[in-house]
């Protein structure tokens, strides 16, 4: 059973979202997602200052098995990316929810974050997928 930290928000497409004290958000893919994809070998991150609408493809994670899109969970601007992943994509396998973060965004409308899935709802979603 995958780990689903209760303080985070989630999407159906398996991104996690953490709201920081300054109102920005940090985004990564969930433990469940990394487990499905297997060993990560390459991660293509968005450019900083790029703007995305909620649901846009903004990054790609490639495991030995396959390439998979990562979607922008909200509308806003990319303000930072995790440069460490370029040389150590396996960090996403090892620590999906912390050092394996992928990018930070400044949301246009903070209200959008509240509408994302709760940990409880996400845990239910993956429990269904696993059966």
């Amino acid at each position: 059973m995958s780990n689903v930290p209760s303080e985070l928000k989630y999407t159906k497409s398996h991104e996690w979202i953490r709201t920081e004290v300054d109102g920005s958000i940090t985004v990564g893919i969930t433990d469940h997602a990394q487990e499905l994809l297997g060993d990560m070998v390459f991660i293509e991150l968005p450019e900083t200052e790029a703007n995305y609408t909620a649901g846009d493809e903004c990054a790609v994670v490639e495991s030995v098995k396959a390439a998979s899109d990562v979607y922008s969970p909200i509308t806003g601007e990319v303000i930072a990316i995790n440069e460490e992943l370029a040389d150590a994509p396996e960090t996403v396998n090892e620590d999906a929810f912390d050092t394996g973060w992928m990018f930070k965004m400044q949301p246009e409308d903070a209200g959008e974050i509240d509408e994302l899935m709760s940990a409880e709802a996400y845990a239910e979603l993956i429990a269904e997928e696993e059966h």
Binding site: G38, F42, E44, V64
Partner: protein, 379 residues
């Protein structure tokens, strides 16, 4: 003809299904079978085979025993490679099975056992069409009274591949005197090892670019043999690592790197087509001879990606001499870079671009294999 009740399930289970679950396998559907894709980490499994020893359940592959009078002449017509080259007991030959157009129906390994007996191993995914083709050809030949060939599907057998630099030592440690007859085998030779319980057919062949054995054995002995190998430190390896290992070793995968519309000459397999002796006719010969005279338009090459990214099958390749396509691609754990096999115009050399998600990335055209015997063949 089923070896066990489980073989009637769909997807079918190999005799090692229970062992896979115990080892923590992630099981997937593959060619009508439930097979292990990995047991945790595909990368670790890949390195395990390159550096030490691993084992694969390849019981889904199809073992055919061909017997009868005139069998050698029949096979010399059926196959693009020439079984006249292997008239020594146990000797193995890699060959394509071609259609009249010179396209590849399947690739296979055939072993000479005796004057009237050969063993052939073909792919699981092509089982039905291979059998239909070989049976039809045998029927034609038998009707013409040229031979009296019988084809036996050996669904009562399982198959375990033990591969890696330490694979043979560990297999001998695990299986003891049961496989003593295999000790002196040269590469690409097999031996029947008559043990106390049945019969182990041990071949010094594989699909990884490493030394090792492929062991064909009665299904009911598979579990105990697997467990003995496990106890000797041979680790289970899934189909995921099998694919990256064979890709690094520059070995074609049927259905991906060649198919019924691609000739062996355009799939890097010219070396497996025996044009001599000239008087030997074989299915597809006329088409291949024509292609050889005209010069094949395309060739299969290796690619190493120089930019960051991952090559996958069916990406567009742009060269100075025209476009091509990747046929297999992945991250190479041994090189730490992405590699591919690609079909490109015959004149293309040195450099090309590969289109990945709308971007053109730089790649180097190379001669494969990329890696074998534990080592990368490139800087």
């Amino acid at each position: 003809m089923s070896s066990s009740p489980s073989a009637t399930l769909s997807p079918a289970r190999t005799p090692l299904y229970a062992q896979h679950l115990v080892a923590g396998a992630k099981m997937v559907d593959f060619a009508g079978w439930k097979m292990p894709i990995h047991y945790g980490s595909q990368l670790e499994e890949h390195h395990q085979v390159r550096n030490d020893a691993g084992m694969f359940d390849v019981s889904h592959m199809v073992v055919l025993d061909l017997t009868g009078s005139g069998i050698t002449d029949f096979l010399r017509y059926l196959l693009a490679n020439d079984v006249a080259r292997i008239q020594t007991p146990g000797k193995a030959l890699y060959s394509c099975l071609l259609n009249e157009r010179g396209g590849v129906i399947d690739d296979l390994i055939i072993y000479f056992m005796a004057e009237d007996r050969y063993r052939m191993v073909v792919n699981a995914a092509t089982r039905d069409k291979d059998l239909a083709w070989v049976r039809q050809q045998a029927l034609n030949a038998n009707n013409n009274k040229k031979c009296n060939v019988e084809i036996h599907e050996r669904d009562d057998l399982a198959m375990i591949a033990v591969q890696g630099p330490n694979a043979r030592d560990k297999a001998h440690a695990a299986l003891g005197t049961d496989i003593d007859a295999a000790r002196e085998l040269k590469p690409f030779f097999a031996a029947d090892c008559n043990d106390s319980k049945g019969n182990l057919f041990v071949a010094r062949t594989g699909y990884t670019g490493e030394d090792g054995y492929e062991i064909i054995l009665p299904a009911e002995q598979a579990g105990a043999t697997w467990e003995a190998l496990l106890a000797s430190g041979v680790k289970p390896i899934g189909l995921g690592a099998r694919d990256t290992l064979r890709l690094e070793a520059g070995m074609n995968l049927y259905g991906q790197d060649m198919d019924e519309d691609i000739s062996p000459l355009e799939a890097g397999l010219s070396w497996t087509v025996a044009f001599t002796p000239e008087e030997r006719d074989f299915i597809g010969r006329a088409a291949l001879t024509q292609q050889k005279t005209d010069g094949p338009a395309n060739k299969l090459v290796g690619l190493i990606l120089e930019d960051r990214g991952v090559l996958r099958a069916h990406q567009k390749v742009i060269t100075e001499h025209g476009e091509g396509e990747t046929t297999s691609g992945s991250f190479s754990p041994t090189l730490g870079k992405s590699i591919a096999l690609a079909r490109v115009p015959t004149a293309a050399t040195e450099h090309c671009q590969v289109e990945i998600r709308g971007k053109q990335l730089a790649a180097r055209i190379v001669k494969y294999p990329f890696a074998r015997k534990g080592k990368s063949l490139f800087d």
